[in-house]
Each structure stands twice: as C-alpha cells, then as structure tokens.
Amino acid sequence: MKTIRGLRVPGLQDDVSPAGFRHLPVPERVVLPLEFSLGKVNPVVEPGQQIRAGEYVGRDENQMIPPVRASVSGVVTEITPWPSADGQKLLSVVIEANGDEEVVRLPLNGNGESKPESLLRRIAEAGIREVDAYAWPLAVRLAQPSLTPPILLPFAPALRKPVRYLIINGMDRQPGVSVRRNAILAEEKELLESVPLLKQITAAETTLITIYKDQKLPADFERKVSSLGAELLKCPRTYPLALKQGLIPYVTGEKLPGPNDDARSVGAVMLDVTTAQRIAAACKEGYPAVETSVEIIEPARGATTHVKVREGTLLEDLLAQLPDRPQNPAKTIIGGPFLGYAQYQFRIPLTQQTDSVVFQSKDELTHFVNAPCMNCGFCVRHCPMGLMPGDLSRLCEYGHFEAAEKAGLFHCIECGICSYVCPAQRPMVQLLRFGKSEMLAVQEAS
Amino acid sequence: MSVAREFTKGLWDEIPPFRLVLGLCPTLAVTTAAQNGMGMGLATTFVLLGSNVLISLLRNVIPKKVRIAAYIVVIASFVVIVELSMQAYFYPLYKVLGIFIPLIVVNCIILGRAEAFASKNKLLPSIADGLGIGLGFTLSLTFLGAVRELIGAGTLFGRYVMWESFQPLSIMVKAPGAFVCLGLILCLMNWIGAMQKRRQG
C-alpha cells in the first residue's frame, strides 16, 4: 500500500449522524442534460410528446454512452440549451411533470437474467452516471476482458487486463460531504446485493469496500461483507484518498500512469457505493437510474439534510420544497467545498453527478488574493499528486506554460488542497486551470 | 549623423557599461577607487581611439575574411603599447590594474566598435566614436569608482572626505559591493531612461 500525501480537516471530516434520506415529492418540472464529459446522446423525443418516467429521452446510436431516461412522467416542453452546474450550457430536455410517481421498469431480457453479459447490458441501459469523471462508461469499466466488446480493445489496451481489484468506495470524496457514508447506512441492502453482482461481472480477484477508519456502519456490517467474499478496507481520513488518484495507489500500490488513465490500466475498477446501489436496483428490481441523492449543507448552522429527488430537479424547486431552507446564502456551491462549482443562480438541474449543495454565509467566504508565492512549501507538503504547486502556479502566472507542463501541470487533479493551505492565499487552482487551458489552446492551434 | 553626435552618443545614449552592457570585467574589478577607474578608462580610451583610427584608415585594404584577425592584431598592439608605457611611467596604477590591462584586448567594447563602426566609417567619425565611447567608459568607471571609494573607504581620489567618526562600509570595495553597486546603478539608469521616455510622451 502506498499512502498519499494530502490533507486532514478534522472539523469537516467528523461523522454525521445517520440521517437517512428525506424523499421529496415529484417536482413540477425537470431538466435533463444530454451532454456529458464522455460525449452527447441524441434526443429521441420531441416537444409536446407525452412521456413516462423511465422511458428514453436520449440515446447514443453507438450505444457507448448510457441513455438518458425521463425521471418524471409528463410532457416534453422544450429541448434547449440550459445552464449546468459547471457553468456550461448543455442541450437539455425539459419535462413538465404530471405528478405521477410511477416509474417504468427496465424490460426483462428473457431467462438469461443472471448471466454477466445480460447484467452488463442492463447496467448500460439503466442510465447510471457517476459522480467522479472516468474515461470510459461504467459498463465498459466493469467488464472483464472476455466480456469487453472486442472492438474496444485496440483503442484501450488496458481493458485486456483482468480485474484484480474491485473497489467499492464508501468514503466521501471531500471533507465536508457525507453522502456516501449516509448511503451505506440508509441503503445497506442494495449495497450488499450489489457485491455478488459486481464480483460476477468483473471476476475480480479481490473485492474491497473502502471506508474511513471509525466510520459509523450498519450493525454487523463487517461480517456481512466478508460473508459475501469481500473485505472492508479501513482507510485514513486523508483527503483526497477517496478520489481515484488517491485510492488506486493506496490499494494497489501502483500509481496511475498518467493523469487521464483509468484504474483498469493497473487492473482495478473503482466505483461509488451509490453507483453500486444503483446497479443493484437496476439488476434486481429493474429500476432505472432516475433519482439522485443530494446533501444540502449549511455549515454556518451546522445543518445537513440528505434528500432524494428525481434527476433533473432544479435547485430552485428543491429549495422550495424544503421546509427548512437555507437563510440568505452568500455563496451556493454545487459539488462540495473543495471540488464544487459556485453558482450565480438557482435554476440549475441537479443530476446524478450532483452529490451535494453547500450554502455558505457571508462570514465563510474565502478571499484568495493575488499575492506572490512565499515559497513556504505548504502546498508541496500536501499536494497528493507530488507536484510543486507553488512553482507551477508561478510558471502559469508568468506565462511559462510549457515549463509548467514539463513540471507536471497536467497531473494536477484540481483537488484544491494547495489553495486551501496556501498562507499567501493565492488562487492556486485558478492559476493552474488557466495554465492548462492556455496550454490546451496552444496544442489545439498546432 | 553629425560628428558631434557620434561623439556625444557615447556620453549618454550608449554610455558603456551602463547602457551598452559590455566590458563588465574591468568595470567591476578596477573600480575600487575613482582614480583606478579613471586610469583604466583612459587606457581603454587610448586603445579604442588608436584602433578606431587605424582600422578606419585600413578599412578598404583589409580583406573581409581576415578582418577579425587583423583587428585583433591592431588592438593587441595598442594594448601592448599601453602596457609598456604604463609600466614605465605609471607603475603604481599599472600594479593596481594588473591583469586587466592585457585584458583590454578582449574588452567586448573595443572589438565591438571596430567591427560595428570603424570598419564602416571615415576617419573623423571614427575618431569621434572612439573618443566618445572611450570617455563615456572613463566617466562611468570614475563614477562607479568614486561611489565605491566614498562609501567603502571614506575617500575620494585618495583624499579623506567623510566625517571623522564615519566607519567605511568596506564591503563596497570588495567583490559583493562591486556587483551590487553596479546592479543598483543599472537600476538607476533604467529609471532615468523610463523618466525620459515618459517625458517625451
């Protein structure tokens, strides 16, 4: 095992009490983006068309990108670019809901139901999307080499490697967020059901559920897990150990070769507990992924609420449904304090990739200033990727982008630790992103 | 450009080594006192003037291919003359300047002027150029020497001028002082240059 450098933030990493999920009623309207980091799907509906929850809204002809399914029943009103949490405008389908709670189940594929091939097909069809960004769709990542479509192998030799480790990650991605820990407590059954399914699909040698040391767990959890042929791996509360760049080396002892490489290149598959739970729901119940669990965090009041909403619910509508809505936030962040995107408005759809919304009060606002680096080395001490963020940021600041690239700019995972610890309060991540974008522009131009 | 302009440019616009950053070694090494700086400057001026004159006169005779070799011979001859006469008539200065007298031959300024100016110009402008640059160099070295001598030893041209209880900051006459002092003067020149530019618009 290889421990990574990183950060411990005691206050923010404390355990939350098992709150369970508050299920909110079906919203009046949902907005479902059709564009993703992997690519886009084409709409298969038209404005004015009636649709039921669980039916296709968009599909990829090549069947590589998981389809988008309606999360509510109602009428498609528009197909239009809509602002997303990360500040882009994505082509999205807007559905006016009719209040029907029913969801159309996935069709059963005859009697080969429990064969790995059909399970994989089901996962691909269920429209499951992950919070972490991965290079390949879930169904591709999970498939053992014999199940991988041969057409993919020339492009992705890593997929030829057998899966040594299957890692179901129960640790939260960043300090201050407790979605996954809550999910283990609230939906233990689905999690345990997913283990045999995933083992079967991946044919993994070792199956691990990673949790924080001393994390609150359901009663008798460890025994149940080991009776399924999996292990519970208790990890230190170091951020960003829960991200793939941290967890893969920690578990396998091998570093990921490049910043964009998948865990499969070292023979590992890693997925969230929430993803595992969606897989179980899809395979066992035929339930498509139309819901998302979101944590509403208000640090100033020490308040945190876990809600389950239909995918595509607008933040605005969610807030309207909450009895105890945040008071005058000065900053609203979708995606957690370290990795999230600050919003300038509330008409943003919450998707499966949304795990949390943070509302900061005025006093909590951070002020990054354009001060020079004092070379204190705090960022170097903490950077999980072993970079020298201080140097990188100076190089980017002064326009030496090529030198920055040589010094490992593109290995930066934008975890935000360097900004967090920098006593000079430099806008580190912003500088590094600026460098990356300039460098990419140069490469594109040439 | 007029002959007068050729002369005056060396005194400010292209004054070495402050504007024309060349010939740094003698500048740093011999400016422990104003007098030494001045001596070095005058010796360099002599060589510069002599070589400019000769090279200007011979510019149509010397074939292109061997011009650098020819210049070096001319310059080195003048250097040797300076060397011999300083040894004969200014022995203490000769001792202080030491190895930097023969090194005039590689002073980047002299070959630079020969190549860039004297080889392309008539006699009179070449004389003006050599004198101007040489005097500029002399002024610079004298100034730097004076500053270092004043702070580092409390004297100017060998005469004590500071108040009685003054304790000289002797680092100024040692190597670190040389570099730092020249660095600060270059900064001053940059500043003055920027001021001039701003005034011009």
Partner: protein, 194 residues
C-alpha cells in the same frame, strides 16, 4: 587566388608593422620600466634597511652575476649601494629562503663593516595572523646590529632570534635568508667597491 594572396600579404604586413612598432616601444621603455619596478618594489624595503645616505641607491645599482641557475643561465643580482658624499657606506640586497608556504624574500641592509643595518620582508605567502607576523618590526628589528659571527638562528635551534610564536617555520626561513645574505657579503663588497 588573388584574394588569398592579398589576405596573406595584408596580414603579414600588419603583423610585421606591429612587431616593428612593438619592439621599438619595448626598447624605448626598457630602462624606465626596470627602474620603475625596482623603485616601487624594492625602494620601500631599501629605505627600511638603509639610513643616512644621500644618493639614489636604485639609480646607482650594480648588477652582479652570481653563479648560474639550473639551465646554466647566469643569475643576475641587483646590489643597492648607499653612498654618502660619494662614498659607499652600506649595501642592500635581496635574499630568500623557504618559509612554511614557499619563498620568503627579504631585503638585508649591511654596513661596510658587515653589520646588519636592517631587515625587511619583501614578499612572502605565509598564513595571515601566524607566519605573516614575521613582517612585523618586533621580529625583524632583532637583526639590527648583528654580524655573521653572532648566532644567527632561532632560539629553538640554539640561536638568539625569538621566533614569532606559532610560526617557527616562517621565522626560520627569514633567519636563513639573512644568514645567507651575510655569508655572501665579503664577496659582494669586493665586487661592488672595485
């Protein structure tokens, strides 16, 4: 071909002219340079070891051939006579011996009777603060008035010279140089006076 000839001719002419001028300059300044070197290098030492003269010992110097070096070339030695009213009253000349770090060169002044009138260190490379202290008058002053028959040795070796503390080697070097100077005095005196 024309070009080549021209190149060679021009360069040769320049070099030849240069050589001519320089050898002339060399000849013209030779005397003066020698005088200057002696004046600045030797005169302070000469002044320190000789007193009561009214001539310029450097101008009146006598150059003697003192044996030959390893390659068989004669070694020339400058002797500086101090005169009063035209009469030689003392001689000063250099001598050298090894100290701790290479040669220590001393100027020794000896009056016409073979008595030391003064000793001065011209060059040395001894350690500052240790051996370098042999230049101090406290050390060199001890030689004044001594003659060859006196025990010209450091006390450690049974002589009467106090060595600089912590620098026996350097002290020994100086004493040796002085002794050698005295030893050659009678021969030198004869040659200079004749």
């Amino acid at each position: 071909m024309r070009d080549l000839i021209k190149m060679v001719v021009v360069l040769t002419v320049i070099c030849a002219c240069s050589a001519l001028v320089l050898s002339f300059a060399n000849q013209a300044t030779r005397e003066q340079r020698e005088y200057q070197v002696l004046k600045y290098v030797k005169e302070p030492s000469i002044k320190a070891v000789l007193t009561g003269y009214d001539n310029d010992p450097i101008k009146d110097r006598v150059t003697l051939k003192m044996g030959t070096d390893k390659k068989g070339k004669p070694i020339r030695k400058n002797i500086f006579p101090a005169k009063k009213g035209g009469k030689v009253i003392a001689l000063a000349y250099g001598s050298a011996a090894t100290g701790y770090h290479g040669l220590i060169e001393v100027m020794v002044g000896i009056d016409i009777n073979g008595k030391i009138t003064g000793v001065s260190i011209m060059t040395h490379t001894e350690t500052p603060g240790l051996g370098a202290r042999v230049v101090e008058p406290a050390f060199t002053g001890q030689f004044k008035g001594l003659v060859l028959s006196d025990a010209l040795k450091v006390k450690k070796d049974g002589g009467k010279i106090d060595s600089v503390s912590g620098a026996t080697f350097s002290s020994r070097g100086v004493v040796t140089a002085v002794r050698q100077a005295l030893e050659s005095f009678s021969k030198i005196k004869k040659e200079v006076i004749s």
